[in-house]
Structures are given as C-alpha cells and as structure tokens.
C-alpha cells in the first residue's frame, strides 16, 4: 500500500537530492559549527529525505529514517549511512535510550501525530542526548503561509510558531540553543519541486498575489512585472537536550 504522503515523495526523491533549499544553508553550517569536535555513537536522522542533514554530524553509526523508500535509497546511495529504515515517526522501531543524537530537518510540518512524534523522540534518546530540530516557523503569517504550503503540497500539515515548538518539549528537554534563519525560495524551483500540474503551479503563484500587503512584506514576496519570483520564510533551529 502506498499512501498519498509516500507517493508524493517517492516520485520526487531526485528533486530533493538536488534541491538548493535542502542541500545547503546557513542552518547546516551553524549546526556543524555547534557540534564541531563532538563525536556521537548512534545518531538517528528522522524524515531524512535525501540525507543531507546526516553529513553535518560526526557519529560512529548513522541511521536514516523516512516514510519514503525511494528517499531512503537516494540518501543511502549518496551518503555514508549505516542503515536506512522505513517507518512512521510516531511509531519509532527502536529501543528506549538507543541514540545520543536525534535530528530532524525541514519535515515536522508533515507530521500528523505531533504529540506521538515528540514522545517517541524522547523515548529513543539517551539521557543528555541531543534533539536537533529545524523546521519552518510561523508567526503573523501563520494562517496564510500554512494555507499556501497546503495548496502546494497536500502532505503539509502545519508549520508551528516558536512558542508552540518549545511547548512540545514539555519540560523533558532543555533548550540549549535557538536560531532563526531566513530562507529565500525561488518560486520556480520551490513551486515545481513536487512536479505539480501547470494549473496547480499557477494557482500557487496566485495565492501569493492575493496575500494582504503586510503579509507580503513579512514574507518578502518579490513580484517583478506582475510575476511572483520569490518569497522568504523563517526556519527555526532548536537544539534540545534530554534532561529526564
């Protein structure tokens, strides 16, 4: 059985391998610098996609986890990954306290069962283990951006605010570090990454045109000669440590 979610990503695994939004970024450089000189025993990269996030950590064992088999195959072929595991982030197939690092980059907005996800991350981490989370964040653009994201990608569930994400950690994690990154998206690349029909792609651009002016300003929407060229969203980088 192939779900809508799996099907979406199975068909576009190569697009994510070369996606400029995923393959590089200030967030990757920051995390790499933060953990410079730190060596982990077991790391788990959740919703690994094309596996880019696994490269910034030094770990003896790297496990890549995803709902899409093709994504996993793409990641394993490209990077030095010890094992790929297909599964659901709300039902992790690992023993309690297995990892000293769990990472997850630009994916949590797809998760249906967010409370289970956080419970499971906490369960599989060792005490004092790190959970490094990067995802799109929203504030005044909340409803507008979540709506556009859903039009573009119907596996989008919700991008959260910083406050909501910190609340998920629920006293079981300590927030060791937080950074806000601004990421400019070229509409042609971003909007076509999931291979939409031309009609859908034009609809996505229309959604940007219809935004209120203050939201356009918040999102840095660039419109040249009546054509939407880019927008800029916010990525939150959270470095949590399991404290109990």
């Amino acid at each position: 059985m192939t779900s809508k979610f799996e099907g979406n990503f199975d068909m576009v695994a190569q697009n994510y391998l070369f996606s400029s939004d995923h393959i590089s970024g200030e967030d990757l450089k920051y995390v790499s610098e933060f953990f410079r000189g730190v060596s982990f025993d077991f790391m788990l990269d959740l919703a690994t996609g094309a596996g880019h996030f696994t490269t910034v950590f030094n770990s003896n064992i790297k496990i890549a986890f995803d709902y899409s088999l093709n994504m996993l195959k793409t990641a394993i072929k490209k990077y030095d990954i010890d094992l790929g595991v297909k599964g659901d982030v709300a039902f992790l197939p690992f023993r309690e306290g297995s990892f000293d690092l769990v990472s997850c980059r630009i994916a949590m907005h797809h998760f249906k069962n967010i409370q289970h996800f956080w419970f499971e991350v906490h369960r599989v981490l060792k005490k004092n283990g790190y959970f490094v989370l990067i995802d799109s964040i929203v504030d005044i653009d909340d409803a507008y951006l979540n709506c556009i994201e859903y039009v573009r990608d119907n596996s989008h569930i919700r991008s959260f605010s910083v406050k909501e994400i910190i609340n998920f950690s629920d006293g079981k994690f300590r927030l060791e570090d937080f950074r806000n990154f601004y990421k400019k998206h070229d509409i042609e690349e971003w909007g076509r990454r999931l291979n939409p029909s031309e009609y859908l792609f034009q609809s996505i651009k229309e959604q940007f045109k219809k935004l209120p002016e203050n939201i356009k300003e918040e999102l840095g929407v660039e419109e040249i000669d009546g054509v939407i060229r880019s927008y800029t969203d916010k990525k939150g980088l959270f470095i949590f440590k399991k404290i109990c």
């Binding site: 059985m1 088999l69 094992l83 790929g84 297909k86 599964g87 690992f94 023993r95």
Partner: protein, 61 residues
Amino acid sequence: MAIKKELLNILACPKCKGDIRLSKDENFLVCDNCKLLYEIREDIPIMLIDEAKKVESTEEF
C-alpha cells in the same frame, strides 16, 4: 549492505517496542510477541505496522 548485529540490537517492534530478530531466510524482521513480519526490501527494513505481515505463528520464520 547487510544489517549489522549492533544495529539489530537497537531495532524494536514499532508496535510493542519489544525484541525483534532476523528471520531464518534473512528476508524479514520478526516480532514473536505481535506475530508480525517486517519485510526487508533492498536492505531497508520496512517497519510500518500497517505493512507488516501478520502470521499465526512465527516459529517457522
């Protein structure tokens, strides 16, 4: 890329979180408790409860 023993040791059944083992033919990960077989496809364990094969007994696997 065969699954290393140290990796098998940290894998668990996603349903009961209990022990799993490699099947005799090495094509499945077996949860004796839930009587579920998780297929290994191209060296990638498919650890989805909905996609696991339910069996009456896991003895033969």
